[in-house]
């Protein structure tokens, strides 16, 4: 059976919502990222832009680069996110990246 290329990490944000990050890592970079959960993003289409902003980031230093990429995208696109902070997703990505061999 083929293994899913996605690694997953999740957290219930204190005072916020559940955030589940699924990511595929290839060649030391984030090849695919999905952010799922019961949070709110306004406008809703903005979540896909946040995911795109994370793709291609190097897994080394992901905590900082992911947070910066998300903050920049939210500012550029005028997004309001309710239920998690960019740091929550960055933390989860770091957890995923630290558990993969970067292959």
């Amino acid at each position: 059976m083929e293994r899913s290329p996605y690694h997953m990490a999740e957290r219930k944000v204190k005072g916020g919502k559940l955030v589940r990050v699924k990511a595929a890592v290839q060649g030391g970079v984030l090849a695919e990222v999905r952010i799922e959960g019961d949070f709110f993003v306004h406008p809703e289409e903005g979540l896909a832009k946040m995911e795109v902003a994370l793709m291609g980031l190097n897994t080394s230093g992901i905590l900082q680069s992911a947070e910066i990429a998300l903050i920049a995208t939210m500012a550029k696109e005028g997004l309001t996110v309710i239920g998690f902070a960019p740091r929550d997703v960055a933390d989860l990505l770091e957890e995923i990246c630290s558990g993969t061999d970067g292959a």
Binding site: G37, D38, P43, E44, T80, G83
Partner: protein, 246 residues
């Protein structure tokens, strides 16, 4: 010119696709200035699960169990969590209006509309409280949740009020992970929810009346159904956007 007389649509049952399509068709009509701000209160027939826009059906729903029980599944265009809409025990409301009629601040608009539900519950003798971001609690247990979206200058917020919980079905068809409740003190997720019937003698009719009264207080309003054009759009939207969900 936008009209501020509110249209109240009397309680109706529909299937999941039609319920979601009605909200969208009404929002479209309001965006074209062809409909008044609208409040509708409705039920789901057959029972259904709606999942939030950003959720994975596989992660949130026991899909096989839903099929076995003939429970519909639909993805909302709003965020938020998975909800089990029991045909007999759950009431949903939608508030659809020009954005200018609600607070620009999203958290404040949740608070403002949830307070109408708190007032409705108070009218039938239930002391409830709004718990940010989007919940209403009775004695620490959730009785109502909600979700909103804003598109083309139109605000849509829909929410649920539990009238009579069927925990056996609810927790058979919803997956409730440990992470979801990890910041809660309660041992069981089941202990997190309550219903009108759990805490009062109020009937369904009394709840519906209290909700309508709370929504219209201080507003000009009239009772009406969707227009012919709106129903035509419902048919198209239900078929094209919601009928093959998941």
């Amino acid at each position: 010119m936008l009209r501020d007389r509110w249209r109240l649509i009397p309680f109706q049952y529909h299937n999941a696709a039609v319920n979601m399509a009605i909200d969208e068709a009404v929002a479209e009509a309001i965006s074209f200035n062809e409909a008044s701000p609208t409040v509708r209160i409705y039920g789901w027939r057959p029972s259904a699960i709606s999942i939030g826009r950003f959720q994975s059906a596989e992660d949130e729903v026991e899909l096989e169990e839903c099929r076995r029980r003939d429970i519909d599944l639909v993805r909302r265009r709003t965020g938020g969590g998975a909800v089990y809409h029991d045909e007999e025990g759950e009431i949903t409301y939608s508030v659809i209006c020009p954005e200018r009629l609600v607070s620009k601040d999203i958290n404040a608009s949740y608070r403002d509309i949830c307070h109408l539900i708190v007032n409705a519950l108070a009218a039938i003798g239930i002391e409830a409280e709004f718990k940010p971001i989007n919940d209403i609690l009775v004695e620490g247990r959730k009785i109502s949740g909600s979700a909103q979206t804003r598109r083309q200058g139109v605000f849509t917020m829909h929410g649920t009020v539990l009238f009579d919980v069927d925990p056996e079905t609810m927790f058979s068809v919803l997956k409730v992970g440990r992470t979801k409740v990890s910041d809660k003190d309660l041992v069981s997720f089941q202990d997190r929810v309550t219903s009108v019937r759990d805490v009062s003698e109020a009937t369904l009719e009394e709840l519906l009346l209290a909700m309508f009264n709370a929504f219209v207080e201080g507003k000009e309003w009239f009772l009406d159904d969707l227009s012919r054009d709106e129903w035509d759009r419902v048919e198209v939207i239900a078929r094209d956007s919601y009928s093959d969900d998941e």
